[in-house]
């Protein structure tokens, strides 16, 4: 893992002292709320419905056991004993008092953590594959590139006041678990015919009210040119992005309005101007960063006990089959810990659970944890011999639900229970659907299926990328839930299509149940995913499942 150096520590200490002074000025009345708001947002502090919310950055989703414990301490000392892991690989604390934030920032800094650039119109925390450095299918570990981008983008003077927020994701496997095409800039490490590694740069992706997938700007950029390409894209966007209308201010709108070819021409022009100054800049730094991401030392352990448990303990076998992913080393596994026991709040972990996961990371995963875009936690380097002990420890803490990637592994934003922007609740809907799925006992028969629920059009839960996406809206004062179908997060990413009229809160779980049972009858076999089935058959049979009354003439409204 990357270890912060003296520069990082000095920067964080300076930011903490600066923020302490800003909070003091706000509390004394020297700063008005209007003056203070952009300052607190630069430090990840939002005002929500019931309290301040602090969004802590987890750079590219990688946490040490010590850092996870620091988050647990924060939850207990300054919040209500839990935190909410997000689809941006961050964590949010929902019950923060402004007066205590300077102490919280100091506490985070001691563990090398912070909330810098987790809000505001700037380059946000860079995200990557939660399996990075461990995945069997990756070209190389994408985190050194992500760390390079973190260092380059942190406090970058030219890009602190962009037209709108700006998100960069990096991945290095064909599965693209970082969903790069849904970001302002997506970077995919790729190999060319000469077996050299380069970077495919895509631009203009994003979800929200105008969902779009990114388009390729440069199919194969040299690593030596990466920073120059990033600077060029940001520079052009900074000038072109609309500042008159926040709903049209994202890069995706600029790219759509001008067309990818014209946008590319402008970026190339800027790239040529700055390339000489930047060429190779960062390569030396990248080499130093790569030293921090060397694979953990190899250990040899006998696998007999694990094999025996797989044969004799069906509960363990199901967990091991469903909640692990292939590791680079055949005798290791990537273990997913879903924060999704049916009925739980998606993404929430108590301080006790965080500490347990930190302990288990130290015992079984070389002290490392990851946060996933699905709001789960990953132990990236677990020897398969350790799986039975790990499963037993997780089961004792209620963290061994064998549902990673299944229908009850639902992604949900905080929604109207917490969020000032939300138009409808999302967590209770997720809880209700998860309980229904559990009661029906069909999710293992269904297999992998993604349900994603956003409580407003800003799409924090990526509902457009759900095979079943749910968007909560306010319709004349009542919560109403619109369904999108056929989305897909894994490569090739696809945006779901709106199915038709929305459902009131007390009908949405029934509607999802009809979709799940109907899909089982419609699919060719267990290998055909929901998204693939939807693509093969088109929307008509799924609309019939959702709106059975419409066919009998009771429901005059047709799908939009």
């Amino acid at each position: 893992m990357y270890q912060p150096d003296s520069f990082d520590h000095a920067f964080l200490a300076h930011r903490c002292a600066q923020f302490r002074s800003q909070v003091a000025q706000r509390l004394s009345g020297a700063l008005t709320e209007e003056e203070f708001r952009p300052l607190r947002l630069m430090n990840g502090l939002y005002l929500q419905l019931h309290a301040y919310m602090l969004r802590v950055a987890i750079p590219y989703g990688t946490l040490s056991a010590r850092q996870m414990r620091a988050l647990a301490d924060l939850a207990e000392r300054w919040d209500r004993g839990y935190g909410h892991f997000t689809t941006r690989q961050n964590i949010q604390f929902n019950w923060i008092a402004l007066s205590q934030t300077p102490d919280i920032m100091d506490h985070l800094a001691q563990a090398g953590l912070h909330a810098v650039q987790t809000s505001g119109n700037t380059i946000r925390n860079v995200t990557t594959d939660p399996f990075a450095g461990a995945a069997a299918d990756e070209i190389e570990d994408p985190r050194p590139i992500a760390e390079l981008i973190r260092q380059w983008s942190t406090d970058h003077p030219e890009f602190q006041f962009l037209p709108r927020k700006f998100k960069i994701a990096v991945s290095a496997s064909p599965a693209d678990r970082a969903i790069t095409r849904a970001h302002d800039i997506g970077l995919r490490l790729v190999r060319n015919d000469a077996d050299e590694t380069g970077i495919e740069v895509s631009v203009g992706g994003g979800l929200g009210r105008t969902p779009m997938l990114g388009q390729v700007l440069v199919p194969f950029a040299a690593k030596a040119d990466l920073i120059a390409w990033l600077e060029a894209v940001l520079h052009v966007y900074n000038l072109l992005g609309r500042r008159d209308n926040k709903y049209k201010a994202r890069l995706k709108i600029a790219v759509r309005e001008m067309g990818i070819d014209d946008f590319r021409a402008r970026v190339k022009e800027r790239f040529q101007q700055i390339r000489a100054a930047y060429h190779g800049a960062g390569l030396g730094l990248l080499a130093r960063i790569e030293h921090f991401f060397t694979p953990p030392p190899r250990t040899e352990k006998p696998l007999g006990a694990c094999e025996a448990a797989l044969a004799s303990d069906p509960r363990f076998a199901r967990w091991a089959r469903n909640n692990t992913a292939p590791h680079k080393r055949a005798d290791h596994a990537i273990v997913i810990i879903p924060l999704k026991s049916p009925g739980a709040v998606p993404g929430d972990a108590s301080a006790g659970q965080m500490r347990l996961m930190a302990d288990l990371a130290e015992r079984h995963s070389h002290g490392e944890l990851r946060v996933t875009q699905s709001q789960n936690i990953v132990l990236p380097h677990v020897h398969r011999a350790d799986l039975p002990a790990l499963h037993a420890a997780l089961a004792r803490a209620g963290l061994a639900a064998a549902n990673a990637g299944l229908a009850s592994d639902i992604i949900a934003c905080p929604g109207l229970d917490y969020c000032a922007l939300a138009t409808a609740r999302s967590i209770p809907v997720a809880q209700d659907i998860a309980r229904r799925v559990e009661a029906l006992k069909i999710e293992h028969e269904i297999g992998p299926l993604s349900i994603k629920i956003s409580g407003c059009i800003n799409a924090c839960a990526h509902h457009h990328l759900g095979e079943i996406g749910i968007l909560g809206l306010d319709r004349a004062g009542a919560e109403n839930y619109q369904i999108t179908l056929g989305g897909q997060a894994e490569a090739p990413a696809r945006l779901g299509e709106r199915a038709g009229p929305g459902f009131p809160a007390d009908e949405i779980t029934d509607a999802v149940e009809r979709l799940l049972l109907g899909y089982l009858a419609l699919r060719t076999d267990a290998e055909e995913s929901f998204a693939a089935c939807y693509r093969r058959l088109g929307p008509a049979p799924f609309r019939s499942l959702l709106y059975p009354d419409a066919e009998r003439g009771k429901h005059p409204r047709h799908a939009a």
Partner: protein
């Protein structure tokens, strides 16, 4: 066309804690919505809001929340949730709980 004025209470967030607070009948800010002052007159409500907006300490982001005049219950779902807190708490139910609606019914007997 501007929406017709409805009887409202004046609410904001406490500067220090961010908690939802209400302008009370005695003119102070309170966490207790039952103690909120009912503003039935549009001009007086507007004046109260303007005065709150001019405050630079104590409270943040004041606004008028329409309520049922008889009960002071907010009419908008958002304002109702601000008043009562989230409908969910972490791990409120154990995994595997089924048919929650049926289990909850007996608890809904009104006092």
């Amino acid at each position: 066309m501007p929406r017709a004025f409805r009887p409202s209470i004046l609410t904001a967030n406490d500067l220090l804690t961010g908690a939802a607070v209400y302008l009370s009948r005695d003119g102070s800010w309170t966490r207790d919505i039952a103690a909120a002052r009912l503003l039935e007159d549009e001009a007086r409500a507007g004046a109260a809001l303007a005065a709150a907006e001019a405050m630079h300490g104590e409270i943040v982001a004041p606004f008028l929340a329409p309520v049922d005049p008889a009960t002071l219950s907010p009419l908008a779902t958002r304002d109702m949730i601000r008043a009562r807190g989230p409908f969910t708490l972490p791990r409120a139910r154990k995994a595997g709980t089924r048919k929650p609606a049926r289990q909850q019914e007996p608890r809904h007997v009104s006092a």
